[in-house]
Subunit: 302 residues, 2 copies
């Protein structure tokens, strides 16, 4: 049984208050797939890159047993590039430039062998493309979707069409407020779940995450980080860890969902420790379990 | 063994997006004492009111077995009055007026029988007065202190003198940032604990609370509230529930401190459900335990 991931593959130039990385590996599908690879295999990645996409990136993804049949490589054109800069407190990120390049005409084409995948992660791309993916799938039982303010603002109708077709929506607090048009997150969750998703996760950065579903709420803590290094990709990494843990378990109930939220948070915490995918490239199972235990220590009481 | 509470006793006029209360019972010592009364007795309240302070308030406090020998009643002058208005999202509160009245010359005089109290709660008053209280006490072993932006800004030197003499500092996130002069709360906690307190609690409103101490961190969830009614006094109520739980247990270690943070949060959640002290006046032990169990349900995972 395999897991399908559809999203962007990019080269990021990121400046933080401490350091700078140029043309480093990025993109939602990249972070999602690498994070997922620690829990399950194979991961079917569907995305697009240009001719300039370095072999070392391909090698790294393959080393994580990520199946790249769905990664289209377009000759003569450059890979999607994004450049951003974090302000001193890391709470604000300014986009310096976005060059969609090959990503501009991305038309996800799911390989034959991935069409029966029951677990599908729809990374943050236009809702109409997310819908196109679902239309190709034979029996997508557990679809997890990410989106962003841009799509909520400009393509809300398309988003509202895809939401009833998914199992879990994962967004951050500002996106939840924008989508629901209310500021209280508990109220926002009710409004958003009425739009279709059976479960909702609201990521709150340094304040952890909230999981809603089955009439219950779970509040997950954030890992205490004194000095962020680079939060780029942390949300995608969460998405990958969360979904792949459930994919491995095969069983999806609120109890397992809670654990999945913690595994997602664990992976995201590693992601923030280094530039690009470096924080999640070299993890060992025991390192992941150790941090899971630290999350437990952080939030459990008698 | 008894517990000393020093702070303000006030009459509040509060306007929320839903309703308004005029001259309702308020003040830090009031909320702290009532919340504490559910865990331990007697509570020695030290504060000051004017001649206009209604008998019904005195009766309510006495019914909660709160010892009022230290409540000075000044003839011919009015009680401290505060008036405020919450904006639509409850995240901002505008002070309409503050009339200190008898509170202007408050000079806490601890009754003889309370001088040996080992547990002391210093509600939010000038740091110099908090120090005056501690100077009167014989052997204050467990001192919990609250403060606010006003004192951090205008009387920081006085505050820095009292911090080494206390066990636990309880402040909110904006106060923690202001006191430490950094925005990351984990970093802020280290800086603040170097100022003296052995334990630190940072309240984060709808995001819960963080407890720091013994080199550990505990992250407590917030109770999911869809519609706030009136959060006035919630912080004081937390303070009372937290400290009185530990006072009852007699034992103070990180494990008990975690539970105390949850009991503080439980009491604060009840406080927000009604105006003034109404949300915490009529609680039953089983109602408190039920909500404690709900906090557990909200944050525990395997």
């Amino acid at each position: 049984m395999s897991l399908l991931v559809v999203g962007s593959v990019a080269l990021d130039t990121v400046e933080t208050p401490f350091d700078k990385a140029e043309d480093a590996l990025g993109g939602s599908a990249t972070f999602i797939s690498v994070a997922a690879s620690y829990f399950t295999e194979p991961v079917h990645l569907v995305g697009v890159v240009g001719e300039d996409f370095a072999d070392e990136h391909i090698e790294m993804l393959k080393n994580h047993k990520i199946d790249l049949e769905g990664l289209e490589i377009i000759k003569g054109r450059p890979t999607f590039r994004w450049s951003g800069k974090y302000r001193d407190d890391f709470n604000t990120r300014d986009t310096i430039s976005t060059n969609l390049n090959v990503f501009e005409n991305f038309d996800p084409n799911i390989p034959e062998k991935a069409l029966s995948d029951k677990f599908v992660i729809l990374g943050n791309i236009q809702p109409s493309l997310q819908m196109k993916v679902l239309e190709q799938m034979k029996n997508p039982e557990f679809v997890v979707l990410d989106t962003m303010n841009l799509w909520i603002k400009h393509t809300k109708d398309d988003l509202l069409k895809v939401l009833p077709k998914i199992k879990v929506l994962i967004i951050n607090d500002s996106e939840a407020k924008e989508l629901s048009e209310v500021t209280n997150l508990i109220k926002a969750a009710k409004i958003i779940m009425a739009m279709g998703p059976e479960y909702l996760i609201i990521k709150k950065g340094e304040h952890g995450a909230l999981l809603f579903g089955e009439g219950k709420i779970f509040s997950a803590p954030a890992f205490p980080i004194e000095t962020l290094f680079d939060p780029t990709g942390a949300g995608d990494t969460f998405l990958g860890g969360f979904t792949a843990y459930l994919h491995k378990k095969g069983k999806v109930d609120f109890n397992e969902m809670k654990k999945a939220v913690i595994y997602g948070s664990v992976m995201a915490s590693f992601c923030c420790e280094k530039f690009s995918t470096k924080g999640i490239e070299y993890l060992k199972p025991e390192t992941i379990e150790k941090r899971y235990a630290e999350f437990k220590e952080l939030s459990q009481f008698d």
